[in-house]
Subunit: 326 residues, 2 copies
């Protein structure tokens, strides 16, 4: 893949998440030569999110020895316009019709492109995670929300709105639990980290989840993916049941999407999967097998993401170079 | 669109359905110059489905004045291999790994290509039904089953298995009613003509659906789309409620698919929609609005199919000519 950049040329990828901002400088072989991770909401309340993004990028550049960049690619939560690089509305980052691509391009004097973070994570896994031979790939990233990235015929699906892949708001249980979007029975309402945390917090409050009660209390905000994994290791059986059920729901959704899209590969990523790979792969496979038609799911490769934390930034770096070619 | 065929050249499209086979001969301007509709399961029990297809095609050719054909395109129920033109397994037509394309090509001495009937219906509506400016289109055809056709970036989505678009088996109600596929809560289980007929037959048996009881009795097989439309016109309020609920479920599924695919246009076709266009458009729009995220559904054009009975054969005719160009 050395043909995107000549030796001595560099590109930056930035992953803007609700919790962390990660900036990485990559050389012409896509080796990470400088990396900086910062909290999205830091102690310095006067600093805007874009100032924190620029700061993280500058630190990564310094670590890399301040090379000159060819371009910067960013993965950001949406909704956004991937063509214009505008973030429409992300309450969590306090952006509203914010020209992110232009702002960063100006700050660093190089071309910048922005796309959805989950799209970029899927793209990163596709390019760098042994999936490049598959033309049709589905990425599913369960976390605080649940995002999907869809590659069809070797191209990222953006759709008419630029926001295709909103799989977290597929209704899979009509009249099911309420979702943050205002609907009921969305995948996110039954399978996101928040959906898991609310059930686990209730278990803890009833002394049915001793590890969680001792280590996280009953505040949903403290019940992170890593704590869930540790509670399961420590033998909290009811916590395991809650997580397995949520993972199985992801499997139902994957089954639905296999029926609709017929991908060749499905890749699972995000915090929950990172923390509990085996459990997630088991339950998602079970749900998918039970809910996808046999002749459509035949031969579908299900795997966990390989790039971990760096999938989004690497996908974004590759994406911006691809766009420069067009 | 005259460039597919020169003046004096002709193409045939064939729609093989569970109820009818329709063959049509089209001239270079895609005018239908010969058409024959036959029951798929005729009185002549000795005749195979492929013999009936050939017979229908020959009658259509005779009506058209026996012109020489450039190619034959076929839309058939799946699962099938659209590249090899093999029908894997359609119990309803008694085909199993049947080489349909080769059989018909041999019988008429011209190239033949086969694709899924709903794909071809969507393709026909896309090309000939005022949707050609939309690059991303979703077709939804509720009937005895519920099929979907997906056009992305101007190309029919076939996916890894060749069978993308199996929207009838998306789970939208975990633990919902049983489906013919063996799962529970599939879209087909709550919104197909059979799902409607079973509820309406029960109403009729309880004398809550007087029109249906008098005209169709309580046999599901007799409760057709046209009877449902007439019962609603005649004032059977409970029948109307059942049909509206089924149509609303289609709207939920459309909402899900808008979130995932972000199409520019959604076209509804098939027997139920043909019989009750206004009711279907109303309920599907309501379901879609309530279940698709506002920023994804913004500007999506929802419409009823324009070609009626001829969408599949016209789509298939266009498809085979496109493939000849490749």
């Amino acid at each position: 893949m050395g043909r995107d950049l000549a030796p001595g040329e560099f590109v930056m990828g930035i992953d803007i998440g609700g919790t962390n901002i990660v900036a990485g400088v990559l050389d012409h072989k896509y080796n990470l030569v400088g990396r900086c991770k910062k909290k999205t909401h830091g102690k310095n309340r006067g600093q805007s999110t874009e100032e924190r993004v620029i700061r993280a990028a500058n630190v990564a550049l310094e670590i890399a020895g301040t090379p000159s960049l060819k371009a910067i690619g960013i993965g950001s939560p949406g909704p956004l316009d991937p063509i214009k690089g505008i973030i429409y509305d992300t309450p969590n980052l306090a952006w509203n019709n914010f020209p992110l691509a232009d702002t960063i391009a100006k700050a660093f004097g190089v071309p910048c492109a922005v796309d959805n973070d989950v799209n970029m994570g899927t793209y990163g896994e596709w390019v760098f995670g042994d999936l490049k031979n598959c033309k049709d790939v589905l990425g599913v990233f369960p976390g605080t929300g649940i995002g999907g990235g869809i590659i069809i015929d070797g191209k990222m699906l953006q759709g008419f709105s630029g926001s295709a892949g909103e799989i977290g708001h597929m209704t899979i249980e009509v009249n099911g639990p309420f979702c943050g979007c205002g609907k009921r029975g969305c995948l996110e309402a039954v399978a996101s980290r928040i959906a898991i945390a609310e059930q686990v917090a209730a278990l803890a409050a009833r002394h049915d989840a001793p590890y969680i009660f001792e280590n996280c209390g009953t505040d949903l905000a403290n019940i992170r993916s890593s704590s869930l994994a540790k509670a399961i290791e420590a033998g909290d059986k009811k916590v395991e049941a809650v997580v397995r059920k949520a993972a199985y729901y992801i499997g139902i959704a994957v089954g639905n999407l296999v029926n609709v899209l017929s991908p060749e590969a499905v890749v699972l990523g995000g915090g929950l999967v990172e923390a509990m790979k085996e459990l997630y792969l088991q339950e998602v496979e079970r749900g998918m097998k039970e809910h996808a038609l046999p002749f459509v799911r035949k031969g579908v490769k299900l795997s966990a993401a390989k790039l971990g934390d760096d999938a989004v930034l690497m996908g974004a770096a590759k994406m911006v170079l691809e766009r420069l070619k067009d």
